[in-house]
Amino acid sequence: MTSNGTRIALGLLVALAVTGVQSATRTPEAHWAMVDKYCVECHNTTDWAGKLALDALDHSEAAIPAEAETWEKVVRRMRGRLMPPPGEPRPANEDLDSFVGWMEGRIDEAAAKQVQPGYVPLHRLNRREYTNAVRYLFNLEFDPTSLLPQDDLSDGFDNVAKVLQVSPTFLDQYLSAARNVAVQAVGNPASRPVGTPYSNPSGGPQHNHVEGLPLGTRGGFAVEHIFPADGEYELNINDMAHALWVEGMEFENSLIAMVDGVKVYEVKLGGDEDQKAIDQKGDPSVDAINKRLKNIRFQAKAGQHRVVVTFRARTFAESDGRLAALVPGGGEERVLKVNNFEIRGPFRTDGVSNTASRSRNFTCYPQTAAEEKPCAEKIVATIARRAFRRPLRSGELANLLQAYTTGRTGRNFDEGVRSAVTRILASPDFLYRPETAPSGKTAGDVFSLDDLQLASRLSFFMWSSLPDDELLEVAAAGKLTDDAVLAQQVRRMLADPRAQSLARDFAFQWLGMGKLADIEPDPNIFPYAAVHRDIDGDLREDFREEIRQFVDAVFRGNRNVVELMTADYSFLNERLAVHYGIRDVKGSGFRRVQLPDPVRYGLLGKAGVLMVSSYPNRTAPVLRGAWILDNITGTPPTPPPPGVEALKEILPGGKILSMREQMAAHAHNKSCFSCHGVMDPMGLALENFDGVGRWREKDRLAETRIDAAGVLPDGAKVNGPIDLRNALIKNPDQFVRTLVTKLMIYATGRPMEWEDMPTIRGIVKKSAQDDYRFATLLTEIVKSPPFRMKQIPVEANLPAIRQAAVTQ
């Protein structure tokens, strides 16, 4: 990574030059003159362009801090070169940078004199955090969507406190979830047979081995099923034979079902006999074949077990398929599929044996009636302490034990514990993360979070989960507020696999990966990425996994975060490698791969990123440009004005326009061009990547060669993704600032406002001294006032009322 190192060192020099050296060479008068010459033409008290009049602001250094809210907006647009707009006369880049550096310097100086940590309203657990908490408390793996309603998003994130409200619908499901979790955690020998349906999460074909399933199998899927008791269960698999429809029945398929890797059932489907029977006898034989897939009885112990339904793989030679396989890497064709199955039970239960969940919490078990109460106390106290993230208050345990007594009465010990667990999970002390002010503090006062409050913030930020016992102990001992201890905990927690949440949850939301689920590529245009085609599976799963592993490698590997933009490695499996035109990666497992072609380096070469900024049937340079401005440079464009006409794809004479020709319409209109002049060249530089991120040389509709050349707003000429990437990280501060801003929103659970910008710049500056290493970013963030302190809002001044949030 020496080339990276050099590039970053250079970038640093530029950054230093911007903030320090050059500003000294220009006088404040020169800066004001620049504003008057280039900005006031439109932003004046007559025109009020963008509701901003810079001539009305006091042109003196001393007056800057009082107008910081306005100046922050100004410098953000200047940094992104959104202003002055493309096409208008603009100052030299050095003058703009110098002005920005000077202005930010003044604001930061003033801010340093006064701590403004902001205010985060009462935070409730969101669905992800709840599910993770349940995993931690009970060793149980739940599908979050089965437990709670979807949370509202704000600023792109699902953990912004002010929108996480409670309604009767929410509380209703929250109580059901508490009950469900408690039943599963304790187990239930008296449970009645219940059917739980599962469907195959990947909608694609099942020709190949599925990652995670036993080798020598193809297709199928696995689920983690929670069995409430020891006993007999039943498996029902989807119909595979259909009347008058023999496809897939020509060849023999061996279906196998396994529980925790042990085969519980095997049956043959298809082949000459079955095919003939369907053909000659019709419905009765179809029913008979499908019957082999129903009412499959097996024994299982209580607790969470992995159930797999899949097929034995045959060799390609045996498959009798086409010689040239259409599936990457070969594999069988015309095969049967496991689309869904259902687990029913238990029938004939014989008690509950020790499950992973029980062994975590039933640290004692009463042998006599006298032992019951003390044992219940021990169990309930431990769970409650973890769930409430603090030592219990006096009287609290007795209160919780009332639920135990109610459950125990007329029933048994387990039912008592179950009842108490439900009670704990339903409590507002679990749901909310109260950060109460020390007594004596009033509106407008600033206070520091105490150790336990800090522990919760830290663990929900880094793990999206509860503090573990170690963190809680450190906090309970009052040591966490010590900077050195805090930094050491950050390191420890980052090394923990739970910190994968930062890639999967934080980064996915930052990069807008949630949108992938909404984009179903048009199968006619992108046959190689279509979801329901029988050839490829759903590539979007691979796109996600690549980005997850890639970001995780940078984050948890404590790399320089600029590598997110520049890294010459990625994580691929065969299917994705083929999509990228890389030949020597085999199999369904993801592994680190050195990228042969620099166009794929960093996030801008990742199919997931390229697809979330496209439409299902075409690329969208505007969306890609806007995506970069939002997520990489942190200078989001303003939304289009009303009444905008859609792009013309076809001219009246029938000529199909290339994307670049369609975009040219933006240049005809000054108001369009002011934003599109910035966005379009960025998007067009990526035009060689099609709507699903595959490299192409030609526009398939217009049949012209892709032209990826353009001029960025700072005058830099770019041609293709490599130039664009280099331009975007020329000043790495810009990218790191965006990342830090997004991390801060996620870490604190509130949008970042203009008052926070000095803090953010400070964090970037400090992390620059350590090569922008991720752990340093994290440490600086958790040491910053917005993370560690709060300012009690003055009623009239509640942050909720503020209108223009600096969302950078």
């Binding site: 009462l122 998003l153 009767p168 929410f170 219940v194 059917g195 109610t406 439900t422 339903a426 939304p639």
Partner: protein, 436 residues
């Protein structure tokens, strides 16, 4: 009931549901030869608000002829058999839903008609469904039901994410989440537990837990500052709301409802999904679990493709049809399909006896959108059609056309009036329509 040897598909199961839910108003429940209005079993109006995003191709929605002799247009044609209970209302405008960024706010302003504050925090108008729910829902287990088919928010730098994915606002600042998983809707309506005994046990445990957590919440509230106390107040209100519902179910029971299997989850096919959600609403009306429902058939800026209709373009980009006839044709196909699915729901209501008539006779269902021409993001004139006779308070069988700029809020006010919900003004409303 839960153990069946043969796997039934979802449709079959639900058809079963329809049959096994005891009707709230069996004829046997009405004493012989009593005037209907004088008995306690007087049928209550049901209100429904069914929303489709991205407006309509207006020339294929609004009939050219007004009055009783209107012709059925391509988009409304699937509902032909309900012509007698159909009221098409043309020419309306909703000023509260107009903005630079229509998709971000129009769903949430459809039933409130108040322009939202430029803020990331929700602040617009209470919606008419919720006004209706306060009265009509006061004595049902659920004041209202909010359903959709897609999750995910529609966000905007100016207005935040509050208005794109729901049409229901309980108060100006409280958007209600809409549930898209039919399985969850089912659980919510009919509760947990396999048998009546088990359900009773769960209900009583839930009751005592609610008592306990309400005390926890009050204690928590005392430790918090003023601004955070409001959040806990929401929690406490929700606790009371659930307690109220439990009380209701306890005192009235579920009318001997025999519970079948719940839907397995979110169906793979959109068609199936729409049907299931509509079935849930019909069931809830039928069992008198709620009288007010809102349903968003798709969310704003939906990127869904309609491969079942041979339309592989994503819905939102397609709605920007550039007046291209081929695209318009496809868009009309999609809109016609939405009406077709909606008609299935009307069929069900029409086939369900309710007191002296059918559920449809006693319903007021608004079917419409808060956008007009999707290519231009127009909000004027809006596509709106009302179905149902509202217990005889709605004439039906006509096409009404109002002069340009007549507030859409007037129609909403009219519908509330016909349902017997007294409200003076909604947004920019200026009065009710006598003609409806």
């Amino acid at each position: 009931m839960f153990i069946t040897k043969k796997h039934l598909n979802r449709r079959t199961v639900l058809r079963g549901v329809g049959a096994s839910v005891a009707l709230p108003l069996l004829d046997a429940m009405i004493p012989a030869s009593t005037a209907l209005a004088a008995t306690a079993a007087k049928p209550a109006p049901r209100m429904g608000f069914v929303y489709f995003p991205h407006g309509a191709v207006m020339q294929q929605w609004s009939p050219a002829v007004t009055g009783k002799e209107f012709e059925l247009t391509k988009i409304l044609e699937p509902a032909a058999k309900h012509r007698a209970s159909m009221t098409i209302v043309s020419g309306l405008r909703n000023r509260g839903g107009e903005s630079n960024t229509p998709h971000a706010i129009i769903a949430g302003t459809w039933l409130g008609c108040v322009a939202p504050a430029v803020s990331h925090d929700p602040k617009a108008g209470t919606t008419v469904d919720q006004m209706a729910a306060r009265l009509l829902g006061a004595d049902t287990a659920f004041p209202s039901l909010e359903l959709s088919t897609e999750g995910g928010a529609v966000c905007d730098p100016a207005y935040g994410c509050s208005y794109g994915h729901t049409v229901a606002f309980r108060s100006p600042t409280q958007p209600l989440p809409m549930e898209f998983n039919p399985r969850k809707v089912f659980y919510r309506l009919f509760g947990q537990g396999d048998t009546a005994d088990e359900r009773n046990a769960i209900t009583s445990e839930t009751g005592s837990i609610l008592d306990a957590v309400a005390l926890d919440a009050q204690a928590l509230q005392k430790r918090l500052g003023a601004s955070d106390q409001a959040a806990v107040a929401d929690y406490l209100d929700s606790v009371r709301e659930i307690e109220r519902r439990i009380q209701k179910i306890k005192s009235e029971g579920m009318g001997g409802v025999q519970l079948p299997d719940a839907p397995v989850g979110i169906p793979a096919s959109f068609e199936e999904h729409l049907k299931l959600q509509f079935d849930m609403i019909a069931l809830a009306y039928q069992a008198n679990l709620t009288r007010v429902a809102t349903f968003m058939m798709a969310r704003e800026v939906s990127m869904r493709t309609y491969n079942n209709l041979g339309v592989s373009d994503a819905f939102h980009p397609l709605s920007h049809h550039q007046e291209n006839p081929a695209k318009i044709e496809k868009l009309v196909k999609v809109q016609n399909f939405h009406t077709k699915m909606f008609t299935g729901f009307l069929d069900k209501l029409a086939a369900t006896p309710d007191g002296d008539g059918s559920l449809l006779d006693h319903s007021i269902i608004l079917f419409g959108s808060n956008m007009s021409n999707s290519d231009r993001h127009n909000n004027d004139p809006l596509p709106s059609a009302v179905f149902g006779k509202g217990c005889g308070k709605i004439k039906g069988g006509q096409h009404l056309k109002y002069p340009q700029n007549t507030p859409h809020a007037n129609l909403l006010l009219t519908l509330l009036d016909r349902a017997g919900v007294p409200v003076e003004k909604i947004g920019d409303s200026t009065g009710t329509f006598a003609e409806v």
